[in-house]
Symmetry: C2
Subunit: 445 residues, 2 copies
């Protein structure tokens, strides 16, 4: 006998988790599509040189790599950005520009499994490439907002910054050449105290006045207009800095024009998002009730996606939903569903002599748009209802010989255990309508 087990760092998704994930994926698909992003897919396996070309030493170390049957060096993708860069370089002439794509798929990293990290997880990316238009930057913010709102999260904040604001301020302070070290120190804010970060900056030789300016910048908060006014002063006449402030101003105005409620999008000058890749607008998103979870949806603008694979410059902007982190957060907040079935109605198999009737009833309910699980065996009703309740069916339909003779049915609310009698006189349409109404009524109480 072989022991049934999953590899360390890997996990199965049982129905409750798989349903929760499918729900979010469906919403992401709908929102991405509503802005004209089209799906693509790429292979899980790529030539190793494609994957190692772009990654950092860290991702190289985490790569699942091996030789395939033809002796080729291959690897499993560790993100969706590198495959998209390869894809864009390969197909740009067929695709046309600008090109908007989404890609929702698994990625693999052989990383340390401490801290609840998994070696297989999903990413849900969307990007617009082939344009430097600020409209594409704004659209990223609108999509992230639309996505989190559609998932049903009530309290969340999208934090936006522009790398050029940071660049402009660093330039003005004479720190342009030390920007990597400075940003790395500033990135510790939130985890470390401002005093500790100030000490680290001083240790890097940053003067006291500059330290104060940097900490003021990183600590700015409040209404976007106030933060922008203060940033305008801090960037002074730096052309780069002024471009960044203008971009953020346009995003705040555009989000309002597109109907985003005030307070959902804030300017947060402490956000840097990596040190090299992003060149313009950057964005992170947080659950207000669980800020320690970290960003659940992050992205930004970059100058060139696919420089390793093509000479054609492909500027773009995009973000990625961290679906596994989000689902873990919803679980921690007690907002995760534990329902194990996608169907609404559990049709009890009461009397096998009525099999043909049950089949007709199930077909009529499905025809009317309801999901129906018909129990395959005429087991004891109590046993059937127990399983239905365990699985989280909202309702069960019980129709035995007496009910068939009388033209009735028992509609059972499995949460409250209350029953209602439906008179359907043998008319399947009447029955389907009545069950539908009962389910609607349950949803509204």
């Amino acid at each position: 006998m072989i022991e049934p087990r999953t590899l360390k760092g890997f996990r199965d998704h049982l129905p409750a988790q798989a349903l929760a994930r499918e729900r979010v994926l469906e919403i992401a698909r709908r929102v991405y599509r509503s802005y004209g992003f089209a799906p693509i897919d790429t292979p899980a396996l790529e030539y190793l040189e494609i994957l190692t070309g772009k990654g950092s030493d860290e991702t190289d170390k985490q790569l699942y790599r091996f030789k395939d049957h033809g002796g080729r060096d291959v690897g499993l993708r560790f993100d969706l950005t590198v495959p998209f860069a390869r894809f864009a370089a390969q197909h740009v002439h067929d695709l046309g520009l600008p090109f908007k794509r989404y890609h929702m798929a698994a990625v693999w990293r052989g990383e340390n499994t401490q801290r609840g990290r998994y070696r297989e997880f999903m990413q849900c990316d969307f990007d617009t490439i082939g344009t430097t238009s600020p409209v594409a930057d704004l659209e990223m913010v609108l999509v992230v907002h639309g996505l989190l709102a559609a998932i049903g999260i009530e309290r969340f904040t999208i934090r936006v910054n522009d790398r050029r604001v940071l660049g402009g301020i660093l330039g003005r302070l004479g720190l342009a050449e030390r920007s990597t070290a400075v940003l790395r120190s500033l990135d510790k804010l939130g985890k470390a105290t401002p005093e500790a970060v100030a000490a680290e900056l001083s240790a890097h030789g940053v003067e006291a006045g500059a330290v104060a300016a940097l900490l003021e910048m990183a600590g700015l908060s409040g209404p976007p207009a106030d933060v922008l006014a203060r940033l305008e002063t801090l960037v002074g006449d730096s052309e780069q800095g002024r471009a960044g402030v203008a971009a953020l101003t346009a995003i705040v105005a555009g989000a309002r024009d597109a109907g985003v409620p005030d307070g959902r999008v804030v300017i947060d000058p402490s956000i840097a998002r990596g040190l090299d890749y992003y060149t313009g607008v950057v964005l992170e998103s947080f659950l207000d009730d669980l800020p320690t979870l970290g960003s659940i949806c992050s992205g930004g603008r970059y100058d060139n996606l696919a420089g390793l694979y093509t000479k054609q410059p492909l500027p773009g902007v995009g973000a990625s939903l961290g679906i596994d982190r989000l689902l873990a957060g919803l679980e921690e907040l007690g907002q995760a569903s534990t329902v194990e079935t996608p169907a609404e109605v559990f049709l009890v198999h009461f009397d096998e002599r009525h099999l043909a009737d049950y089949l007709r009833i199930a077909a009529a309910l499905r025809e009317a748009g309801m999901g129906v699980e018909f129990f395959p065996e005429a087991k004891k009703v109590g046993q059937q209802l127990k399983l239905a309740a365990k699985r989280g069916f909202p309702a069960a339909l019980v129709i035995g010989s007496d009910e068939f003779a009388a033209g009735t049915a028992q509609f059972k609310n499995l949460a409250t255990q209350q029953s209602a009698t439906i008179d359907w006189h043998g008319d399947l349409h009447v029955l389907a309508d009545a069950v539908h109404s009962q389910l609607e009524a349950m949803r509204h109480t």
Copy 2:
């Protein structure tokens, strides 16, 4: 510069293909769910011993296998059945029985890439385990029918048989011990002539009378009632054979009760589907207009899913949609969509001074359920419309300064190039309703 390319036997999905696949996956998800099948997911990587335990020599040879960072022998799954067996054995106590699951995911086989085969492809499986009820067998037929009908295929046939009918007839003919060789010969019907198969059977030492009976059985066709009557004679008093005929009779009756049109489900005694795994009802499905494509959805009943991993017997029944084969078939029949966008409306970026208006319009249309791509740059209108037509948008909305002043909009049907003027008087709801009506009217012509 690194050459952007995919591995031999692997392929990218560009938007038109990815959209076609997502459409079928969405339909499969909806149909599976409507019968109460719940989603699950398992890791792409498994311990090698899990994968090699069950597979044949052929699948063992095709396995992508390697040592992971911890020195474990691992492999990429080559189907969804073996992972499901491992999953069921591991989680059966949490799941409860009977358990109905679907699983739609990629699998990998390092096989010969001739004949248009790919080394990465998707499977869409559904199974009911933990019951021997004939209702579950019938439900498999209903799900396959519902699935193919919902995909929009008008002409297809589901061919059903029962392994026990074959077993009963072989027993009666005294061939029970040679059943593997006989079934392997019979399996060649369709590719080889009946004469060639008869010669092969004779060479195996099957007597002339038995050869005639076997070929008669395998060649039976026509209305299910006629085929069943003939099979009843052929199985004689074989208990096993009579059980098989009874099961097929119940499926034909049940499919009719559940509303499946006559002719969609036929009894085809030539279908055997592998030699060892299946033990009861077996099923294959074919496009009537492209029978040479082979079965696009196949399955059957088995006695024990997970005998390698648990002592608990897990009988079940299920089928798998060959989505890549189906999509290839639809393409061959000229029924594949070439549309590259999921959105209906292309909103032309005519005049950047009206950016705020465009944002409001796009938001209003999305709010009303339409997908809208707003072009990010105020390029020449002709250039924008050309890209929109290339991508297959049904319609474009053109609103310039004159239109804004007059409270009008040009709705352009990109297939016919005809334009209609919409009077919306600056009222976003009026505009959204009018665009929706225009799109509806286009769908109905």
